[in-house]
């Protein structure tokens, strides 16, 4: 079990989903530390540039798959360019409203993606998977 507090990064172009997921996470008392981004580039820039913050928490990155410009897989690919010591501190999940098997398979073949979570987010499932 990890004692560190959760620090969640939510990357989703859909602002309604961001509001909903942020609130659901807060209401379930999972963490109050939630940072949201409506595009992958901003998120990556932030994550890559705040190593001290990452060091303090158990970081969870939630990336929506269906986004314009950089989709979830693109964002993840760029994330993988981060050095090991950054990635070691993060747990990555993809979010999807689709149930496309190819997408899910593609994601779950990768060891650094913990799971593809369906929307709306099941916060308790997330919590369980993070602490597993």
């Amino acid at each position: 079990m990890n004692e560190k507090e959760l620090n969640i990064f939510l990357i989703d172009d859909n602002d309604i989903d961001i509001v909903v997921n942020t609130k659901l996470l807060k209401l379930a008392n999972i963490t109050s530390r939630i940072r949201s981004f409506t595009n992958g580039a901003d998120a990556l820039q932030y994550i890559g540039g705040n190593f001290e913050e990452l060091d303090k928490y158990l970081n969870v990155i939630l990336i929506d798959i269906q986004m314009p410009v950089l989709n979830g897989f693109d964002v993840f690919e760029k994330y993988m360019e981060f050095p090991d010591e950054v990635r070691k501190k993060c747990k990555v999940f993809l979010l999807s409203s689709s149930i496309d098997r190819n997408d899910i398979q593609k994601a779950e073949d990768n060891e650094e993606i913990i799971k593809v979570l369906e929307k709306p987010l099941d916060v308790y499932l997330l919590k369980r998977l993070v602490s597993a």
Partner: protein
């Protein structure tokens, strides 16, 4: 059959054979003749040749060798070999390998050869037609695939957003009329979402092979049943879960999900509202050989006739429910794809019990 003239290419090292062939058939066919294999290839590349006839015995290259040479670039023209009886073994071999459609003994009989050419042309036309149809089928299939993909994203995404908002509203304990209205919206959205998901999974099931994953039955069951927590009517139902997992279980997780989702939603939908103790028993038992999944309810049940038709597409046994009648059909298809068996036992008013047995793909 089309009225267009048949284009025939004839390769033979003996000039006089070419001449007599032309003399016999020039009225009926467009005839191209040559004594050189290279020239023959040239003709093939410049004309739509329907039928290629070649002599077997030629000084540099046999007829069979010539056919072997042209098959990669010109697979469509139908090939006929002209030969004396001496080379019969080479001919049999060529026919068996599919290089030659027919062989015609020399000297040829004019009528027989004509029939052979006609038949060859018919075959040519059929092949071309089949090819075109295949292209069209492939195109239609690709479009369907694209539709399913975009349907799964674009149709579902807004529904899922709405469901998220509703979930939030519920979590924030909104009460009174608004809660009631939200409940109605949620029910309707769930219904539509269920249908969209079913259609998508049906097409995915149709096409895709199995993707195996190691399954933790307890976790799997928890994950699925959680989805049903807020399903219409689920609050009055007692869910009894039983898991007995012996060793590793490898199965197509998505299909298993599809199956359990449908069985559960049916168990809830077809509950018996006159009973005060509605229950759904779900059990998963696995060993080295198989997984046995049983979903048993004490709902309204089915009579014998309905039981027979339960797995048919768009069949609905009950008028009171909102289903589209595609659920059990999908379940059956998915079970078949996984090499399993499904059975149902049910009596009217006595509930229904579905039993699925799927081989463990360790």
């Amino acid at each position: 059959m089309s009225n267009k003239k048949i284009n025939v290419l004839y390769l033979d090292d003996e000039e006089h054979n070419l001449t007599s062939f032309k003399a016999a058939y020039r009225r009926e066919y467009n005839i191209f003749t040559t004594t050189s294999a290279n020239e023959a290839v040239q003709v093939l590349s410049e004309n739509e040749i329907h039928v290629v006839i070649s002599d077997q015995k030629m000084p540099n290259l046999s007829g069979v060798e010539f056919f072997e040479l042209i098959i990669p670039d010109f697979p469509d023209p139908v090939r006929i070999l002209l030969t004396g009886y001496a080379d019969i073994e080479a001919v049999i071999d060529a026919i068996n390998k599919g290089q030659v459609y027919r062989y015609v003994a020399k000297p040829w009989n004019e009528t027989d050869l004509k029939i052979t050419i006609q038949n060859a042309f018919e075959l040519y036309n059929n092949r071309i037609q089949l090819k075109q149809q295949n292209v069209e089928i492939q195109k239609a299939y690709n479009e369907l695939e694209k539709f399913v993909y975009s349907a799964s994203h674009d149709l579902r995404a807004p529904l899922v957003s709405i469901l998220g908002v509703l979930k939030l509203a519920r979590t924030e304990n909104i009460e009174g009329k608004p809660a009631e209205y939200f409940g109605m919206i949620e029910r309707t959205v769930n219904q539509l979402d269920g249908f969209v998901q079913n259609i998508i999974s049906y097409y995915q099931n149709l096409k895709k092979g199995e993707i195996l994953a190691s399954i933790d039955c307890a976790l799997f069951l928890d994950e699925i049943t959680q989805h049903f927590e807020f399903f219409e009517g689920a609050d009055n139902i007692r869910f009894n879960k039983m898991v007995q997992q012996d060793g590793e279980l490898n199965l197509d997780e998505m299909r298993l999900k599809m199956i359990l989702n449908n069985l559960l939603s049916n168990a809830i939908k077809y509950r018996d509202e006159t009973k005060s103790d509605s229950s759904v028993d779900i059990s998963m038992q696995s060993d080295a050989n198989s997984l046995k999944l049983v979903v048993k309810d004490n709902g309204i049940g089915m009579n014998r006739e309905d039981r027979m038709k339960a797995f048919e597409m768009f069949f609905r046994a009950s008028e009171r429910c909102t289903g589209s009648g595609i659920g059990l059909f999908i379940v059956k298809e998915a079970v078949d794809k996984m090499g399993g068996e499904i059975s149902v036992s049910s009596e009217l008013g006595q509930g229904a019990e579905f039993e699925v047995v799927i081989p463990n793909k360790r």
